[in-house]
Amino acid sequence: MELIKRGVVVEDGFKRVADDGELSSGDVLVSWARLQAEAASLLARSGRVGVRVPNDVDLEALAPYVEQLDLIAIEFPTYTDGRGYSLARRLRERHGFRGELRAVGDVLRDQLFYMRRCGFDAFELKEGKDVAGALEAFREFSVTYQGAADDPRPLFRRRGG
C-alpha cells in the first residue's frame, strides 16, 4: 500500500492485522476494538503498534495509550465528515502525540493541505487516486491565517512590519 508520508510516496511499513488475524512479528496496525481488548500483550511486543480509530472515538479512552502508540490512523468515512480534523488537533496539541498520524478512508487530494495543518503527517489516499499528483496539493498555499497543529501562531503573530 502506498502512502504519502512527510511529502513523499512510501510503502506502508505497518501490517494491517484483522481482529481475528494472527499477530506476526514487525509493525502492526490493529483496530481500536482489538487494542482495547489486548492492549497489554500488544504493547509488550517488540514491533511498533498502530491503531485505526473512528473519528468519533472516545478520546478519554484513547488517551492512556497515546504515549505508547507509534501510529494513530483516523478514519474519514466520507470527505465531508470533518470530525477527524478536530480529533487530530486534540491528539497533537492537547495530548502531545508525536507518532505518525495518518488519514485513512475517503482521503482526497484537495483535503491534504487542511489535514497536514491539523497534524496529519501520513495520508492513505482513497483507492484509485493519483498518489504522485496529489503531492502538488501541499504546495498550493504558501500563507495561512490560523494557528494550527503545524504552527500554533496565527498570522497576526507572524506578520512582519
Binding site: 468519533d56 470527505y79 470533518g82 483535503q111 487542511y114 491539523c118 502538488e136 494550527a148 496565527p154
Partner: protein
Amino acid sequence: MYQYDQYDQRIVDERAQQFRGQVERRLSGEIAESEFKPLRLQNGLYMQLHAYMLRVAIPYGLLSSKQMRSFAHICRTYDKGYGHFTTRQNLQINWPELQAIPKVLEELAGVEMHAIQTSGNCIRNTTSDQFAGVARDELEDPRPYCEIIRQWSTFHPEFAFLPRKFKIAVTGTPGDDRAAVRLHDIGIRIVEGERGERGFEILVGGGLGRTPMIAKVVRDFLPKRQLLPYLEAIMRVYNEQGRRDNKYKARIKILVDALGVEEFARRVEAEFELIKGEGLELTDSEIARVGAFFAPPPHESLPDSDAQLQALTLGSERTLGLWVRNNVIPHRVPGYCAVTVSLKEKGTPPGDVSDYQMDRLADLADNYSFGQLRATHHQNLVLADVKVADLPALHQELAACGLASANVGKLTDMICCPGLDFCALANARSIPIAEEIMQRFDDVDYLNDLGEISIKMSGCINACGHHHVGNIGILGIDKQGVEFYQLMLGGSHNNDASLGAIVGRAFAQDEIVGAIDTVLRVYLHQRSSPEERFVDTYRRIGMEPFKEALYGAN
C-alpha cells in the same frame, strides 16, 4: 476599508491559481463532476437550474468603487450584463461559463476579492451592519472584528467540513440590530461591561430554514482579546457534536436546542478554558492594526445639517423629498448623511443591478462618498458618507440610471429569493410575485401611509428569502405540481426578532397578491394611529382579524 498586504494577496492569488488547476482537470475529463463538486462547492460555484452560478464574497458588505467597476466588467464580459446582490451581502452572477471562472477569479483577486467559502459546509462571509461607522447610535465599529473573523475563518483547516454551513454576524449597535445577529449561527454584539469596558455578547443557534430559531445568549460578556479562542471553542464543539446524519438537523441551532443552552454553553466554556492558552488570543496591536483601516474618511468640517435634511423632506420637490425621507439617515458627522440606494425597482428582480448601473454607482461613490459602497442584507446598497448639500444632485444622477426608488423600509422594499426561475430546489416562483407586488402597490403615498413594513418571500422551505422574519412572509409550496403560496404574519428580524405564524390555507398564484392587499386593509383599518407599525398592530390584535378578512367569506 481593509487593504490587503502581501499575505492576504498571496492567499487569494494562490486560490485563483488552485481553482484554475481544478477547472482544467475537470474540463480535460481527468475528474468527473462528482469529484469536481467538492472543489467548486467551497468556492461559491453552484450548479443552478440552467447554468453555473458564482457567488462572490463581499466581506461584511463593504466594497470600493474599483471593486464595483470590476464587478461591472465581469458581468459584462462573462455574464449577461447584470449581477445580483444577495441577503448575505454577497454578489451572484448567474450565467458564467465554467471555462471563464478561473479568469473571473483572477480578475477578482486583482481587486482584493474572492469567492472563498461562499458555499459549502464551512464558515461563510461574516455579515454586519450597513451603517457601521456612521450610525449615531453605534457603540463601536464592528467591521474590524468582522475582518479579524474573516481572516481567521479563511481556509481554517479544522472547520472546512462542518456538519452544515455556518454564518456569523456582528453588530456594534446594541440598541438597534441592523445585522440580524439573532438569526445567525453565531451572533456577536459589541457591548459594554460593568466597568464600561468593551467586549462581546455571544449568541448561538439562530437561523431560518426549516426549523427557524432565534439565537440564545451563550456568553454575556467576552473580553475582546478572547474573541477567536471563544469562536474556535464553539466551532470545535459543533464540529464534533453537531448532527451529521440528517442534513436538516445539522445546523448548530439543533445542537443548542437539543442540549439546552446551559449545557451547550458549559461544553463551550470547557473547551474555551483549554484553547485560551494556545496563542489564539488577539493582541492589542492586531486590533489596532485592523481597526486603523476603518478610520473615518476625511470628512470636511461642516455645520450641523439636521435642519437642512429636514427641510429637504418637506421641500417643494416632492420626489426628492420622499426619497430623502425614506432613503436617507442622519450621520454622526455634521453635514453628512447615509443614503440607501434601493435595488427594488419595478421591472427588475430585487437585488439585480446591470453592468451599466454598477459603473454608474462606482462613479457616484467616487464623486459623493469617498469611493466606497456597502451592500445590505436587505439587498440594497448604501453610500455612507454623502454631504447633505449633495443630495439633490445625487438624487438626480441616481434617477437617471433608474436607481432612485424611494421605498427603503417600505412595502415594496422586499426580499425575495431567486425561486423557480433559477433555483433547482424551488417549489414556486418568487420573482414574478415580487414584480406583481411592485406593480400593484406602486403609489408612493400609499406606501408612505403604510409606513415601516417588510415582505419577505422564499420559493421553498429552505427560506433563503427569510420569510419567517418578514412582517408579511410568503412561502412557495407545491401542491400536486401547482405553485401555491403560504402567507405568514408577524415576523421581525430586528432587536425584537420574532418568527411569523401561518395564517391559514395557502393561496394560488393569482390570489396571493390580493391576499396581501386584504391584510394591508385590515391593518390600515385596525391600527391605533398612523404611527403604529404593522408589526405592532399585529402583536396587539393578533391573527384573528386578518384570518377573518382572508377566509371569513368561505
